[in-house]
């Protein structure tokens, strides 16, 4: 199976996510999340990186960043970056992401949430999901910003990916780091 048949999308969720006090908020888009996750996504063969926020000002901001790199100066001086950012698509909400991915693949993708604390029922191993991806299964992986995906997101997913950790108790990776590692585990060349 060649790389072109991989059917993997990512969604970087800015709503609904938790703040430090476990309240549901809309987080702000971070420029470098877009760059790092698009570069990692493109490197590992991700089809779309969906940026999810209902805030119209944030849509405008993301649009300006993408314009700079697609038709503006950025893309001329750094065509590799232009290619990476071309996988980004902006959506108002997760329903819009599910709809776009379902339409694209001709079937609803398997939706997996990521987080630093998942365990027990519903957690699926990286090996299993990797096998499913390479067998042609469409998969959509959700990443939360701020203090992570809000509980209501979990009710709409098909499962969870195990937390990433080392041998330490400390576990506070940036979403950029976590996404990179998860892509390597699921799609990296071995």
């Amino acid at each position: 199976m060649t790389a072109t048949t991989l059917k993997v999308d990512l969604a970087l969720v800015h709503y609904p996510v938790n703040n430090k006090n476990r309240e549901t908020i809309i987080s702000a888009v971070t420029n470098l999340d877009l760059h790092d996750m698009a570069r990692a996504g493109r490197t590992f063969g991700v089809d779309n990186l969906f940026i999810v926020t209902p805030n119209s000002e944030q849509h405008k901001l993301v649009g300006e960043i993408l314009d700079h790199w697609s038709t503006g100066h950025g893309g001329k001086v750094n065509p590799d970056r232009k290619e990476a950012l071309s996988i980004i698509s902006i959506k108002d909400d997760l329903a819009g992401v599910y709809e776009a991915a379902t339409k694209k693949w001709g079937e609803r993708p398997k939706v997996l949430a990521t987080g630093a604390r998942f365990q027990g029922e519903g957690v699926q191993s990286y090996e299993l999901v990797r096998e499913q991806i390479f067998a042609g299964q469409p998969v959509l992986i959700l990443f939360g910003t701020a203090w992570g995906l809000a509980p209501e997101v979990m009710e709409m997913v098909d499962g969870f990916l195990p937390p990433i950790s080392g041998q330490m108790e400390y576990n506070h990776l940036s979403v950029r780091s976590a996404a990179s590692i998860i892509l390597d585990r699921l799609l990296g060349k071995r």
Copy 2:
């Protein structure tokens, strides 16, 4: 073997590195490199993240960032971040890094360079290096900023880690992403 016996350090090198035209330059320190690599380092049990630059203004900048998180406001509102950034140490050059690591471990660490294009002689597999680390071998891993470590660095290392890639030809990870993936491969819980 417990996590406390891991002897792994990282060096984020801002000189000597290449620019786009393969000239040797001093690159500027990026605030988010420090945060992301320190968080990943702390999560995976890295002892020190050495920030290498000969530029005294950049030393001052890094010092101010660290102060904000160690004794300033940042550490009060986000103690996890304070803990992560505590692994950072600033050095003028790689000679100073080798000296500090050798003194700390009582022997010269195995020094491995990372990059997107290594192949052939001197490349050591992640499995092999992981085994050596868990057997107690001190290891220092060098990461280049800008367009990567300058050729003169390669003459001082004991080997190279294989490039990280997916199934695609495109391979333009940020140093933050590459470092996170490499730490997971060498030190991640399985």
